[in-house]
């Protein structure tokens, strides 16, 4: 099963490599990874999506917690949560396809953020499934470049990941 694990860790050099190294060292898998400092500049928030059965996920969270740089973590998929990813896509937009791309962008509630005579650059946010669907819809037109941020997430309701 797919899990989204969010980690608060020390904003120190080497902390990220310890987290990433753990995954390869223990043969765990990383589907997406997203990391940035938080409002508290001593902390970074890292969100990783991974796939594994309960035993594997239990080991992943235990080993992550064991890292000295990891201050706190939560498996967002254990409760109801909001999952978002941002994607920038350059697509061909020529002739009749130009209107078709615009219509599809509207259907997906995406935005065109840059335009040339032959291309659109589209910005779209959503969960990973929505982004995949958009790429599938666009692929007949011609995808030129895709940049995805990887999943970020937050728990619904009053639950808060903080110190």
């Amino acid at each position: 099963m797919r899990h989204i694990i969010s980690i608060l860790m020390e904003n120190e050099p080497g902390a990220l490599s310890r987290v990433v190294g753990l995954f390869s060292q223990r043969n765990f898998n990383i589907e997406t990874l997203n990391v940035a400092p938080t409002e508290d500049e001593t902390l970074s928030r890292l969100t990783v999506t991974t796939v594994g059965d309960d035993r594997v996920i239990e080991q992943i969270t235990k080993h992550l917690n064991k890292l000295i740089d990891v201050v706190k973590l939560v498996d967002l998929t254990e409760g109801s949560h909001i999952e978002r990813e941002l994607m920038l896509v350059k697509v061909k937009a020529l002739g009749a396809a130009r209107d078709e791309v615009k219509r599809t962008v509207d259907i997906f509630r995406a935005q065109i953020v840059d335009v040339t005579p032959s291309q659109y650059t589209v910005q779209i946010t959503g969960d990973a499934g929505k982004l995949d669907a958009f790429l599938e819809a666009m692929s007949p037109v011609g995808l030129l470049e895709v940049a995805r941020t990887g999943v970020s997430g937050i728990a619904r309701g009053d639950k808060v990941l903080s110190l």
Partner: protein, 574 residues
């Protein structure tokens, strides 16, 4: 206010922390630190002849004393030579702080002379690591390093120190930090009482219980509590290789150790148990054999200080995260005034165990006949008698290691020092040296083989300089015995590179360093040679004993089988 250079801060900190010995080797990036050590006389530095030996010596000291070992090496090759020893300590959860010199900060990343990203290289084999970024951080970082290395599940910590951080001209305030502050690290101090109660109820009702305890009991200094608990309950106990001595092996409740080359009765008892009480052990593959066939009728209570050890390979029915000593003490107090429910079943269980013991009595190996070459097992037993089972024993890796574990009987913890997890050849001699230098009045024996010994024999020179009356017992079969055994069993005796051609004349070699070497060819010569070996406790003696190269280590679990599936000799199996 006291102003000190980074190098002097390191020397002062080591004094204030109570570090007695450092094992190390100087080099460019560590020279400021070496100069600071030269200008003091509280911390003693032992100059090894290879950095790997520094880590093994510090490791041996840590295992025997329970205190963290300290290593000092220079950047680049100095640090990479230490890697095998760091991995050895990591696999066996041994507290160690490794101080590594590093090139100057402004050169890092430029492939400078003797530059290695040692923090990166060691990342998967350390508990944690630090890079010093300002000299004023040194006291606090070192405090954290010692605190992390020695608390919770212990392990090695690397501190990378760029040369400019120790420059003699730059001075900063030095205060010895009494406590380390780490917001994300709070090792548990006690187990969950509800879980412990549950475990105790299961223990009282168990019909075929067995304790299975590991290195966590030794490092957690819980041997006395464990002995008390096991005696109260009257249950059988088996330990891992790392847990040897945590419960006296001469006691009738001890089944010896378990796993691939563990005792027949240990593996049989585990397989048939209905309750396994695992404490400070990690169900590793050398213990469990095939996980899917592991102990089919047993419920499992698993006590460990490291939550990630629990249910890693075998799922625990009652997981208890906590230090062995405190959990055991809580178990003992919960047992006060309680009676074992099924004492009849327990008596039957002991009958089965005694039956297994009886099956193998006198059949463990065939002793040598008069005038013949000795069996390695006989040599271990003779050394055990000669030292009254009281020596600190280190081993290298291979057949002799297993024989030492099987035939030397340990009644105390911290006495059997072996590389259990990583299986590092070359570990035994420097580890013994580290122990002997710190416990000069004790007898320290290193069982080795001619393969392993040659990996670290340069340390004879260190012993010559600093003393180290280690007794090296070389079980010389002119082969890499364990490799040869596997080749006999799995490769139709095709002995690919397991024969040691061109062995040195060990006698001349040892004498070249100014030590005594004795040679034993037949069983008749052994007793008098042992007498000479142990005559002077301060003298290093190398005893080269020719042993039967055809001998195999048994029992040996059958690959992919259950705990009870064992080869018992070259012709018998369960």
């Amino acid at each position: 206010m006291e102003l000190l250079s980074g190098a002097d801060m390191i020397a002062r900190f080591l004094q204030d922390e109570g570090v007695e010995y450092i094992y190390g080797y100087p080099g460019g990036a560590a020279l400021h630190i070496y100069d600071a050590l030269f200008r003091q006389d509280k911390v003693k530095h032992i100059l090894v002849r290879h950095e790997q030996a520094a880590t093994h010596a510090a490791d041996g000291y840590a295992r025997a004393s329970g205190k963290p070992g300290t290593v000092l090496v220079t950047s680049g090759p100095g640090a990479t030579n230490a890697v095998t020893g760091i991995a050895t300590a990591y696999m066996d959860s041994i507290p160690m702080v490794v101080l590594c010199g590093q090139v100057m900060s402004h050169l890092i990343g430029e492939d400078a002379f003797q530059e290695t990203d040692i923090v990166g290289v060691t990342r998967p084999i350390v508990k944690h690591s630090f890079s010093i970024r300002h000299p004023s951080e040194i006291p606090e970082v070192l405090k954290k390093a010692y605190y992390l290395a020695s608390t919770g599940r212990p392990g090695p910590v690397v501190v990378d120190i760029p040369k400019d951080m120790t420059a003699p001209t730059e001075r900063y305030e030095y205060i010895y930090p009494k406590k380390a502050k780490l917001r994300s690290y709070n090792p548990v101090t006690r187990g969950h009482t509800g879980q412990i109660k549950k475990a105790v109820e299961m223990m009282l009702k168990a019909r075929r219980p067995v304790f299975y305890t590991g290195g966590g009991v030794v490092t957690g200094e819980a041997s006395d509590g464990l002995t008390d608990l096991v005696k109260r309950l009257g249950f059988p106990i088996t330990t891992t290789l790392m847990g040897i001595g945590a419960f006296p092996q001469s006691d009738d409740q001890s089944l010896g150790w378990l796993g691939m080359h563990g005792s027949y009765e240990s593996n049989m008892a585990m397989h048939h148990a209905d309750l396994i009480i695992a404490i400070g052990a990690r169900f590793d593959d050398r213990v469990t054999n095939n996980i899917s066939k592991f102990c089919p009728t047993a419920k499992i209570v698993h006590v460990d200080i490291d939550p990630s050890s629990i249910s890693k390979t075998v799922r625990a029915d009652v997981p208890i995260v906590g230090p062995a000593a405190s959990v055991i003490n809580e178990m003992i107090s919960l047992l006060q005034g309680r009676e074992i429910v099924s004492s009849e079943a327990l008596a039957e269980w002991w009958q089965s165990i005694d039956g297994w013991r009886e099956e193998r009595r006198g059949k463990l190996y065939e002793p040598s006949a008069a005038g013949e070459v000795l069996k390695p097992q006989e040599v271990i037993e003779a050394v055990c008698r000669a030292t009254h089972g009281q020596a600190y024993v280190t081993t290298d890796v291979g057949q002799h290691q297993m024989f030492a574990a099987q035939y030397y009987k340990f009644d105390k913890p911290n006495r059997f020092v072996t590389s259990g997890g990583l299986g590092t050849m070359g570990f035994g001699f420097p580890a013994a040296m580290g122990i002997k230098q710190n416990f000069p009045d004790e007898q320290v024996v290193c069982f080795t083989g001619e393969g392993s010994f040659q990996m670290m024999m340069q340390e004879l020179s260190t012993c010559k300089q600093f003393g180290g009356g280690v007794k090296i017992i070389n079980l010389n079969n002119a082969s890499l015995g364990m490799v040869r055994q596997w080749q006999d069993l799995n490769y139709k005796s095709r002995h690919a590179h397991s024969y040691m051609e061109s062995l040195p004349d060990f006698q001349k070699l040892i004498e070249a360093y100014g030590f005594t070497a004795l040679k034993v060819q037949t069983r008749e010569e052994l007793e008098s040679a042992l007498e000479k070996t142990f005559a002077d406790n301060d003298e290093l003696v190398f005893l080269d004993v020719a042993v039967d190269p055809h001998e195999h280590v048994y029992p040996m679990q059958v690959p992919l089988g259950a705990m009870r599936d064992m080869l018992l000799s070259k012709t018998e199996r369960t």
